[in-house]
Amino acid sequence: MTEAFEPVIVGFTCNWCSYRAADLAGTARIKYPPNIRLIRLMCSGRLDPTFVFKAFSSGADGVMITGCHPGECHYVEQNYKAMRRFILLQRTLAQFGIEPRRVRLVWASAAEGHRLAEEITNMVEEVRQLGPLNWPTAPDGVQVTRSVEAI
């Protein structure tokens, strides 16, 4: 067994384009590395930066955000909001010392299984080069253990 670092990447997909692109990649038996785990959202506009922080703080080494191409959003224009958030998020993450390349925004239409697979392959390689992020936070935050009903 080699000791190669295998990054874990959380991918957020849009129900209408990139999730279908992932389906298409499957149907077409296009291969990509198993390091990505996908979450389906209805739209890239649903992408809340909290999810990215959550992924990093729970052990992800990279986060891929995917959506419909500009101008092709299923919900007309919500992918632009994802784009704005992404740009600001990257700037903010840089201040945390998190390499901007650990988050990637990818536009992939439902027909672009190949493109999505390629982007995933590239990103896995890139994050592999960056090395583990290994954010040292516990999976759970606030714990309330003591009862105050005694009072």
Binding site: D23, T27, I39, K54, A60
Partner: protein, 676 residues
């Protein structure tokens, strides 16, 4: 320890999944490692979607008292409904079932079995965490108003309107121009049968005009759309015609007597004239003219009023105002058609500079017996018949500088032109084509016929049309410079007339229309259908349908078929009386909302309303399409979204990453050979 009782079902899908993922291991792992998360049973089965697989779930729900179900199988786009129904049969709220994909997203895209199994476990763990945060939901039931709005009175819109009206329901047909008919009314013959366009279109136009179930609103435009499927409120501006349609008999005296001649850029494609008071063409429906305010002498100078003086019924009303109408409809069909590619954009072909270069639409008007030349195919001088004609295909289409797509109709249209030229003038006709595309019923036969009529075909994209003669025989001609790719040489072909088969492109205001109706366009500008193959006339917005060229270039039969298809979809809904919608909706917690108004401009469907009196924002669940953008944007977390709540997504992230926190499972898998 969770209080929920979860069943996990891992599908083999024959060998589709089991060939790569160790499904038994995944099930065992879930039963053990996720026991404290509430998993009480985890099974693997050959085909979960089979009736036996579904019964297994229903039975477990009954016997084991499951409160949540996770199925690890194929894409939810394939079988989500199947397993929800199975859960429902077992007595569980169908939305408490989570289908996670370990086929499309695991077994079909990965080859390393250890890594694939490991990922499948992560995916199952994500599904378990997510479903734990799910709440029981019910589909939303929305009543359907039985009236329908059809926008665009071309052939697609006419067909849609007639189908619905004939079925006994009311239709509002809104048309921007003074008459319905669209592009088809401008044509002379229609390929491949060469029926006369007017002969087959006019009866349909008349039916619209006289149908008791149709309210025809020509010279009108939709200004605003509120509401949602089943219950749209549409605001229509009925532009002032300056003609009282109650009094007008359509006798035409006003048009005859009007002293102001105007070049008709729309119907006659700039080749002919109309008056300042006009109907676009003799068979116009409705028969009432409009006064073109921009060109009317009275509006310009304050005098004239010839039409008013001579109208036998006193129908001219110079002081008429635009009317604003409010319509209630349940569904909407958009059939707003296309614009012709403007060949001026490609200066190499000389259109607008070289007189005898015509567009396809100009040629249609020339060939039309009711057109400006009474059907005579002549040069721009109006008298000379061409002896040689070059028809250039793919003008603005299949061209990376303009539009990449094929406009679909130009090959057949060009063949029709060639045939008409042969028939009427006996001219020598060249077709310059890239590929001949004649794939529909009786189309290729028509191509064969035109070939046999002696029309010449040169395969190659024309480089230039010029009047600069270089060789003998070129003087006074238009010279077509082309690489004949079959002969393998450059050719210069002198002709008298050039016809440019200009492509179709989205209406110049298609993006505004899309925005107005809350639907999306492709990057080209064609309105986007729900599914390109399986749902071509529905859109992603419930209750809005598209038909004809607004969806993409197509010929008359396809436009008619789409008009009819859209109306069939709508009639089905009207008959049902209501529609069930997925309960993916956002809502605002009024106690938490501070009325900051961040979300107010984020919704393209106008579902978000701000109540200034209470200083809170509210979301109309019927208008909400469930994208979740406002949920993600709310700085106070006052907006929550069903099916994709923060809790669900955060839990899924944690679930997906559970294995990383478990060092003894830290399998290292050598980088998988990515499909070589």
């Amino acid at each position: 320890m969770s209080k929920e009782r979860i069943g996990v079902y891992v599908c083999h899908c024959g060998t589709n999944i089991a060939g790569v993922v160790d499904v038994e291991e995944v099930a065992q792992w879930a039963a053990g490692r996720l026991k404290d998360r509430g998993v009480v049973i985890a099974r693997d089965y050959k085909f979960m979607c089979s009736s036996l697989g579904q019964e297994m779930i229903a039975k477990d729900i009954h016997e084991l008292g499951l409160t949540r179900v996770v199925v690890a199988a194929c894409s939810p786009h394939l079988h989500e409904q199947t397993f929800r129904t199975a859960c429902k049969r077992g007595g569980l709220n169908p939305y408490l079932c989570e289908l996670v994909s370990i086929r499309e997203q695991v077994s079909w895209v990965h080859t390393n079995k250890i890594a694939a199994t490991y990922k499948a476990e992560a995916v199952v763990s994500g599904g378990v965490e997510r479903v734990l945060q799910q709440v029981p939901l019910e589909p939303l039931h929305v009543p359907i108003h039985p009236a329908t709005l059809v926008v665009g009175g071309g052939i697609a819109g006419i067909q849609a309107a007639l189908e619905i009206a004939d079925a006994g329901y009311h239709v509002y047909l809104v048309e921007r121009e003074p008459s319905i008919g669209g592009h088809m009314a401008q044509f002379d013959k229609t390929f491949p049968t060469l029926d006369c366009a007017a002969c087959i279109l006019t009866p349909k136009m008349v039916s619209i005009g006289t149908h008791p179930n149709v309210t025809m609103l020509t010279w009108s435009e939709v200004e605003r759309v509120d509401g949602y499927v089943g219950n749209f409120t549409v605001t229509v501006r009925k532009k002032a015609r300056y003609v009282n349609t109650e009094l007008c008999t359509g006798c035409g005296i006003c048009q005859e007597k009007c002293p102001k001649k105007v070049v008709d850029d729309i119907f006659e494609a700039g080749l002919g004239y109309r008056k300042a008071v006009y109907t676009p063409f003799p068979q116009a429906v409705p028969k009432f003219p409009v006064i073109d305010r921009d060109n009317c002498i009275y509006y310009e100078k304050g005098t004239c009023r010839a039409c008013e003086k001579l109208c036998p019924t006193g129908a001219i009303e110079f002081n008429q105002k635009d009317e604003i109408l409010t319509l209630q409809v349940g569904n909407i069909v958009l059939a707003t058609g296309y614009d012709l590619f403007d060949p001026r954009r490609n200066p190499h072909y000389g259109y607008g500079r070289l007189a005898n270069v015509f567009t396809s639409l100009e040629f249609e008007r020339l060939s039309n017996a009711a057109g400006p030349t009474d059907g005579k195919l002549v040069l721009r001088d109006g008298i000379t018949e061409p002896r040689t004609v070059g028809i250039i295909h793919c003008v603005g289409s299949r061209d990376r500088y303009f539009n990449n797509y094929c406009s679909a109709i130009c090959c057949m249209q060009s063949l029709k032109f060639a045939h008409l030229l042969k028939e009427h003038t006996g001219a020598t006709v060249y077709n310059f084509y890239i590929d001949m595309r004649t794939p529909a019923k009786a189309y290729d036969e028509f191509y064969q016929r035109v070939l046999s009529e002696g029309v010449l075909f040169v395969r190659g994209r024309v480089a230039e049309v010029t009047d600069a003669a270089r060789l003998r025989g070129e003087e006074g001609k238009l010279i077509i410079q082309v690489e004949d790719t079959l002969a393998g040489k450059q050719r210069r072909i002198p002709v008298d007339m050039v016809v440019l088969a200009a492509g179709l492109q989205p209406r110049h205001d298609a993006k505004d229309v899309a925005k107005l109706f809350g639907i999306s366009c492709s990057s080209d500008g064609w309105l986007t259908e729900r599914h390109p193959k399986l749902d071509p006339v529905a859109t992603m917005t419930e209750g809005i349908f598209i038909a004809g060229c607004v969806q993409g270039p197509k010929d008359i039969p396809a436009s008619v078929a789409q008009g009819a298809a859209a109306s069939a979809r709508i009639l089905g809904r009207i008959h049902q009386g209501e529609i069930a919608l997925e309960p993916i909706r956002a809502s605002v917690d009024a106690d938490k909302c501070s009325g900051c108004r961040i979300c107010n401009d984020l919704c393209p469907f106008n579902a978000i309303t701000f109540h200034a009196d209470r200083m809170v924002t509210e979301i109309n669940p019927a208008l909400c399409q469930g994208c979740g953008t406002c949920v993600a944007a709310c700085p106070a977390a006052a907006i929550s979204g069903t099916m994709f709540s923060n809790e669900q997504i955060l839990a899924q992230i944690e679930g997906l990453l559970l294995l990383n926190l478990n060092p003894e499972r830290a399998v290292t898998y050598a980088s998988e050979a990515v499909a070589a």
